[in-house]
C-alpha cells in the first residue's frame, strides 16, 4: 500500500512489528468514523518487519505521545494526496492521562480523580515509570 493512497490524513509508519493494534486502541481509532487501515508485518529494509497505520481523515490526535509506545514511529501528514510533512516522534518527558498504570498495588488503581502520570526515566530505551509507584510501563 502506498503512503499517498490516502487523500487527507495521517500515516503512522515504522511502528515496531506487532504493536499497531495497541496504538489503534490507545488513540481510540476504533471510535472514529473515517477509514483506518492497519498493516502488520510489512517488510522493511530498516526494521526487517514493521507495522503501519493509515488514517484517511484529518483528525486531531495526540501523536507526539506515540514515542512512548514505539520510538521508531514516523508520522506522515498527507494533504490533497501529497506528503505535507514527515517527522519522527520524540519522547515526551511526562505523559498525563494517556497510559494507565498496570500495577494493582498502585494508588491509581483505587483512587478516583487523580491524573495518571508517567515520566521518562530512560531515554535510550524509552523507559516510562509511573510517578506514583515507579512501575515501568510496558
Amino acid at each position: 500500500m502506498r503512503v499517498d493512497a490516502i487523500k487527507n490524513g495521517i500515516v503512522l509508519d515504522h511502528i515496531e512489528a506487532g504493536r499497531a493494534l495497541e496504538i489503534y486502541h490507545l488513540l481510540s481509532l476504533d471510535k472514529v468514523s473515517c477509514p483506518v487501515a492497519i498493516l502488520t508485518n510489512v517488510s522493511s529494509e530498516k526494521m526487517g518487519k514493521k507495522d503501519i497505520i493509515k488514517i484517511d481523515g484529518a483528525l486531531s490526535l495526540p501523536l507526539e505521545i506515540l514515542g512512548v509506545i514505539s520510538p521508531s514511529i514516523t508520522i506522515v501528514l498527507v494533504e490533497d494526496g501529497k506528503v505535507r510533512e514527515k517527522r519522527h516522534v520524540s519522547l515526551p518527558k511526562e505523559v498525563t492521562d494517556f497510559l494507565r498504570c498496570k500495577n494493582p498495588r498502585c494508588i491509581t488503581s483505587t483512587e478516583q480523580g487523580i491524573h495518571h502520570r508517567f515520566h521518562l526515566t530512560g531515554e535510550k530505551n524509552a523507559v516510562y515509570r509511573c510517578v506514583y509507584c515507579d512501575a515501568q510501563w510496558s
Partner: protein, 304 residues
C-alpha cells in the same frame, strides 16, 4: 513547605544535617523537650505497624508536641470509601504534620498534593519507606563514624526489599562506598536499581550467593528476610533460606568491628544467639529511629 515521600527527595547534605541534629538530640535531649509545644502530629496508618508508628508518636511526644490519628484503616473514614486525597485535605486542617502509612504505592504522594501541611511517607506498600532508610543511615553513621570507605553487604531478598533499594540509592551518594550483594539468583537486585545507583555511578560492587564467602570483607551487613511466597517451589526456598541464616559461626568470620543491621521484624534469618554479640546493632537501630524522626519533624516544621 517540604514533604518526604522518597529518600532521594533530600540531598546528601540535608541527610547529613538531619544526622547532625539527631546526634545532638541523643546527646542533649533536654534542649528539644519544648521544641514542638502546641504542635500536633497526625499518624494516619491505614495498615498495622509497630516500630514506625510508635517511634513517630514517641518522637513527637519527646519534642513536647501531641499526637492524634488512627492505626488501621477500619477505624478511619477510609472504611466508608473516603479517598486518600480527601483524608489528607481534611486532616491537614487538624494537624501541623502528617505521617502516613498506606498499603497502596504512591498514596503519600497523592496526600501531599492535597495537604496544607508536610506529609511524611511512613511506608507505601512495597514501594518506599524513607524514614527506615534515615534510621539505617543514622545507625551506620553512629556506629561507624561516617559513610566513607565502607563495604556494605546487603543480604537476602534484594529484589522485592524496598529498604534495600532505598539504602543503595542513599549510600551511592557517598564516596568510597562498595557494595556486596548477597542473594539467591531468584532474588537479585533489579537491574534498574543496579544500573542507576551502582553501575552508572562507577561504584565497585560484587554479587554473590554465599554469605559465608562475603562475611570477612564487610563493614556493615544489612540482613533482610527471604520470603517463602517469592518462590515457585518449596524445595528451592528451603535450600536458600537456610544459607542466609546469620549464626554465631558465621559471625566468627566477620571483622571485629563489623555491624549487623536489620529493618525488622525478623523471622529466623538472624539466630537469637547473635543478639548478644556487640556487633548486632539491629535493636540499637530500632531505637535510633525515634531520634532521626525527631530531627525530621523539626526540619519539616522548620523549627530551629
Amino acid at each position: 513547605m517540604r514533604h518526604l515521600i522518597d529518600i532521594m527527595d533530600f540531598s546528601a547534605a540535608e541527610i547529613d544535617e538531619l544526622i547532625a541534629t539527631a546526634t545532638d538530640i541523643v546527646a542533649h535531649p533536654e534542649k528539644y523537650r519544648e521544641k514542638c509545644r502546641y504542635k500536633k502530629l497526625a499518624t494516619l496508618f491505614f495498615e498495622p505497624s509497630t516500630r514506625t508508628r510508635l517511634s513517630f508518636e514517641a518522637a513527637m511526644m519527646e519534642l513536647g508536641g501531641q499526637v492524634l490519628g488512627f492505626s488501621e484503616a477500619s477505624s478511619s473514614s477510609a472504611a466508608k470509601g473516603e479517598s486518600v486525597a480527601d483524608t489528607a485535605a481534611i486532616v491537614s486542617g487538624y494537624a501541623d504534620i502528617i505521617a502516613m502509612r498506606h498499603p497502596k504505592e504512591g498514596a503519600p504522594l497523592v496526600a501531599a498534593s492535597k495537604s496544607d501541611v508536610p506529609i511524611i511517607n511512613a511506608g507505601d506498600g512495597g514501594h518506599f519507606h524513607p524514614t527506615q532508610t534515615l534510621t539505617d543511615l543514622f545507625t551506620i553513621h553512629l556506629e561507624k563514624g561516617s559513610f566513607e570507605n565502607l563495604t556494605v553487604g546487603l543480604c537476602g531478598d534484594l529484589k522485592f526489599g524496598r529498604t534495600v533499594h532505598s539504602l543503595i540509592a542513599a549510600l551511592s551518594r557517598y564516596t568510597g562506598i562498595r557494595f556486596v550483594l548477597i542473594s539467591p539468583e531468584e532474588l537479585k537486585v533489579p537491574s534498574y536499581v543496579k544500573n542507576t545507583y551502582i553501575k552508572e555511578k562507577g561504584i565497585p560492587y560484587k554479587q554473590t550467593t554465599s554469605l559465608d564467602e562475603a562475611m570477612p570483607e564487610l563493614d556493615v551487613l544489612y540482613m533482610t528476610r527471604v520470603q517463602r511466597e517469592r518462590f515457585f517451589n518449596e524445595e528451592d526456598y528451603l535450600r536458600l533460606r537456610d544459607s542466609y541464616i546469620l549464626t554465631p559461626e558465621k559471625m566468627e568470620k566477620a571483622k571485629k568491628d563489623m555491624i549487623v543491621l536489620h529493618p525488622l521484624p525478623r523471622v529466623n534469618e538472624i539466630s537469637t544467639e547473635v543478639d548478644k554479640d556487640p556487633r548486632a546493632a539491629y535493636f540499637r537501630q530500632a531505637k535510633n529511629g525515634k531520634f532521626i524522626r525527631m530531627a525530621l519533624i523539626l526540619k519539616l516544621l522548620e523549627v530551629d
